[in-house]
């Protein structure tokens, strides 16, 4: 994804004190110590200061050094995004904050599990579409499928929309994980 594509201008902010600023969507990676309460600190920061969370994922990525990686997708004016990063850096267990949206090209992926219930032509159609999207069937009964798929948030949403008339009954998604392209580590 290029920088221009990822800086989707979702909205024009209302005229705040003299400066008109566009709302941007950013994907931020936060490396933290994997300790009790660290996720609450990050989430509490967002809710307490009125920042948006569009998606948030967390898991330990380095068991030896007890590092967890939090990926948060947020939106705001450039001034707010800068604030979010600085506020995150201020948290004591935070090691590194990386704005993947501005620091070079990056990849975003999300995993989804979709349960579709139905028989006959609709059932066949759902399987056909799943094939086009390269979704996998991970559970099947005579009257249902569970599809597993990874991809960008947009692709997953498109798939869910197509399943809607074909007997969609349940959706579970992981939220976005992201990593920079190229050989450099953050």
């Amino acid at each position: 994804m290029t920088k221009a594509q990822s800086l989707r201008h979702l909205d024009i902010a209302k005229k705040g004190e003299g400066v008109t600023q566009q709302i941007e969507r950013h994907t931020i990676s936060v490396m933290v110590d994997n300790e009790a309460g660290v996720l609450a600190r990050v989430i509490g920061l967002f809710s307490g200061r009125g920042y948006n969370i569009e998606s948030l994922t967390v898991a330990e990525v380095d068991a030896q050094h007890h590092f967890s990686r939090i990926t948060v997708v947020t939106s705001g004016t450039p001034m707010i995004i800068e604030q979010i990063k600085n506020q995150l850096r201020r948290l004591v267990p935070v090691h590194r904050v990386t704005d993947l949206t501005v620091e070079g090209p990056s990849l975003e992926r999300e995993l989804i599990l979709v349960k579709v219930k139905g028989t006959g032509e609709k059932r066949v159609e759902s399987l056909r579409i799943a094939d086009i999207f390269r979704a996998r069937v991970v559970d099947s009964t005579i009257e249902s499928f569970v599809f597993e798929m990874t991809g960008s948030t947009e692709k997953l949403t498109a798939f869910v929309n197509l399943m809607q008339p074909l007997g969609l009954v349940e959706v579970s998604r992981t939220g976005v994980v992201a990593i920079s392209r190229g050989p450099e580590a953050i």
């Binding site: 004190e17 003299g18 110590d33 309460g37 609450a40 001034m79 948290l91």
Partner: protein, 586 residues
């Protein structure tokens, strides 16, 4: 350097001693009994028994902000911890280093709604710089030392360490981790050299420069204040201070314009509005300072020096941001300024001072004197005249009296002015004064109070009596929550909803009841004698000064207005009514 295993409570005491702690402010309870037992068996740390946990934190703040050391609090679980929350929030907002040890129910009972259990780390997470729940005795030594490091370094703030009772009783080796480097927390102290060069370039060619300095200078230490004073004098630029920055630059220096902001000086606010270069050192563009953001200093280039990157570009966009400790930054600025032998634009600067002196000539602190009723401003002028030249410390409560104290009492050095700026906590002044007095037993410590605020932590009179701390409480008693009444007058058609201080105690009798000395003044002619008696009386004294009930605090930037729309006095009011947008602001 492992030693014989000792109890968790003893580990805490050893760590405190190794951190140089001499005084703890606290209140015992079930979940901290092992710690209190350990305190009982030692004589290196003095414990001050407060009468409410909120006051323990404010006392620790007073101790910390008048010494530059970390203030230490010890309270029990549940209500002990929840009562401390206001104090912790106050310390966070004003960047005061405080370590608060809270008791907790034993680890196996956590989550069971046990007696006096509260989710202390959950409750205090947004009101502390950091907090810890110690679940393993192995972590205890490290956590206590880390808490002190986090609290005092970078932008200082409160840190809570929650200590379950079984951890206090468990045994383990004590290890001194005092100089351990933290694996993720390392605030930047030294500034980027290129930014310093750029700042000096901007300053060299400025025509209407202004220093705007805040509490960060005080937090950086007395040496930083001295360096800054030297630097400001070298430049010849005017220097205005925030409420928290009073004393960071000598008030008597001709370059000082006094306080900026909502109730700041006319000349300071107009200089802020009209300057072409603003040099913000250790201040945070608080809404009490900026007024309406869209109209805030519209023509200036702004330099912002702050140790906390999140303070930069938060409210006001700046042109040059320098992250670092004020002491280091000013040292570098001085060096570059001297090395380049910078000569500021003398002609432009002279014209700028001419303009400033015209604003000064308006004498914005003027008020209508009276021979019959004590004007609060007069009371404070007489107080200041009496204490000038002594080693005095002033604390305040919150409201009109606080602003008048900031306007009329002058400070030549940092650490001597203590007020609740960010949170605006009524009830701060008395416990803070006790904390100051504990740290400076010989000094003259005065809490300038209002009759409403003082009632919020009045129980601390008992603490002062117990430790014979000779604090002086100087109440400007106008029988109103004055600032509330002033706003109701300005914004709500004079409908004084619940702002009258009814059923007040007789403060002189109250003083008597607590073993204090009580004095009262009702006429201007009595002021000097009363103040003299207050200062000369050895123990704690309460002075009830019956002041003009209707006096309002001026000058004032009304809510939602700009710096050049200041009201100078009551007659100015009708000229610029408060806008609807301004009504929403606090």
């Amino acid at each position: 350097m492992a030693t014989e295993p000792v109890t968790g409570a003893d580990i805490v005491i050893k760590a405190l001693v190794d951190q140089g702690v001499e005084v703890i402010f606290g209140y015992p309870g079930g979940a901290v009994l092992p710690l209190y037992d350990a305190l009982f068996k030692q004589n290196q740390i003095k414990h001050i028994l407060v009468r409410h946990e909120q006051a323990a934190v404010h006392s620790a703040e007073g101790y910390a902000r008048s010494t530059g050391k970390v203030g230490v609090v010890l309270v029990t679980s549940g209500p002990g911890a929840t009562n401390a929350v206001t104090g912790l929030t106050d310390a966070l907002m004003d960047s005061v280093p405080v370590v608060c040890l809270t008791g907790q129910v034993p680890t196996h009972l956590i989550g069971n709604d046990a007696f006096q259990e509260a989710d202390t780390t959950g409750i205090t997470r947004p009101v502390t710089k950091h907090n810890y729940l110690v679940k393993s005795i192995n972590d205890l030594s490290r956590v206590i030392h880390e808490a002190f490091h986090v609290s005092r370094s970078g932008r200082p703030g409160p840190v809570v360490v929650d200590l379950p009772k079984d951890i206090q009783q468990a045994k383990y080796d004590y290890v001194n981790y005092a100089n351990q480097r933290h694996r993720s927390y390392n605030p930047q102290l030294k500034p980027d050299r290129a930014l310093i060069e750029r700042a000096v370039e901007l300053m060299a060619k400025a025509e209407r420069p202004l220093f705007y300095i805040g509490g960060g200078v005080v937090n950086s230490g007395t040496a930083a204040s001295q360096l800054l004073t030297e630097f400001v004098r070298l430049t010849g630029f005017p220097c205005t201070q925030t409420l928290m920055g009073l004393g960071a630059f000598p008030a008597s220096d001709p370059l000082s314009l006094g306080m900026v902001g909502m109730h700041g000086m006319f000349e300071s606010n107009h200089a802020m509005h009209d300057c072409d270069l603003m040099i913000n050192i250790g201040a945070r563009f608080d809404d009490r300072v900026t007024g309406r953001l869209a109209a805030f200093s519209p023509g200036s280039t702004k330099i912002h020096v702050d140790i906390d990157p999140s303070s930069i570009n938060k409210n006001v966009h700046v042109d040059l941001a320098i992250v670092g400790d004020v002491g280091h930054v000013v040292e570098d600025l001085l060096r570059v300024w001297k090395a380049r032998q910078v000569k500021p634009n003398g002609k432009a600067l002279a014209a700028w001072w001419d303009q400033i002196n015209k604003w000064r000539a308006r004498e914005c602190l003027r008020y209508r004197p009276s021979n019959d009723v004590i004007k609060p401003q007069y009371a404070l002028q007489r107080l200041y005249d009496a204490i000038k030249g002594r080693d005095y410390y002033i604390t305040t409560e919150v409201g009109q009296h606080q602003m008048w104290a900031a306007q009329f009492i002058k400070f030549e050095k940092p650490y001597h002015w203590l007020t609740s700026g960010g949170l605006g906590t009524m009830g701060y002044g008395l416990p803070a004064a006790i904390g100051v007095q504990i740290a400076h037993p010989e000094a003259l410590v005065i809490d300038v109070a209002g009759e409403a605020s003082i009632m919020m932590n009045i129980q601390e009179m008992s603490t002062a009596a117990q430790y014979r701390t000779p604090v002086k409480v100087f109440i400007l008693n106008n029988r109103w929550m004055g600032m509330v009444r002033q706003w109701q007058e300005l914004l709500h058609g004079g409908r004084y909803s619940e702002s009258y201080s009814d059923a007040l105690p007789d403060f002189v009798k109250l003083a008597d009841a607590f073993g204090w000395t009580g004095l009262r003044a009702t006429k201007p002619a009595e002021m000097d004698d009363i103040i003299k008696t207050m200062i000369e009386t050895p123990g704690p004294v309460i002075v009830d000064v019956a002041v003009d009930e209707r006096e309002n605090c001026f000058p004032m930037i009304p809510s939602g207005a700009a710096h050049n729309e200041m009201l100078l006095g009551p007659d100015d009011q009708k000229a610029s009514p408060v806008s609807e947008e301004g009504m929403v602001l606090v």
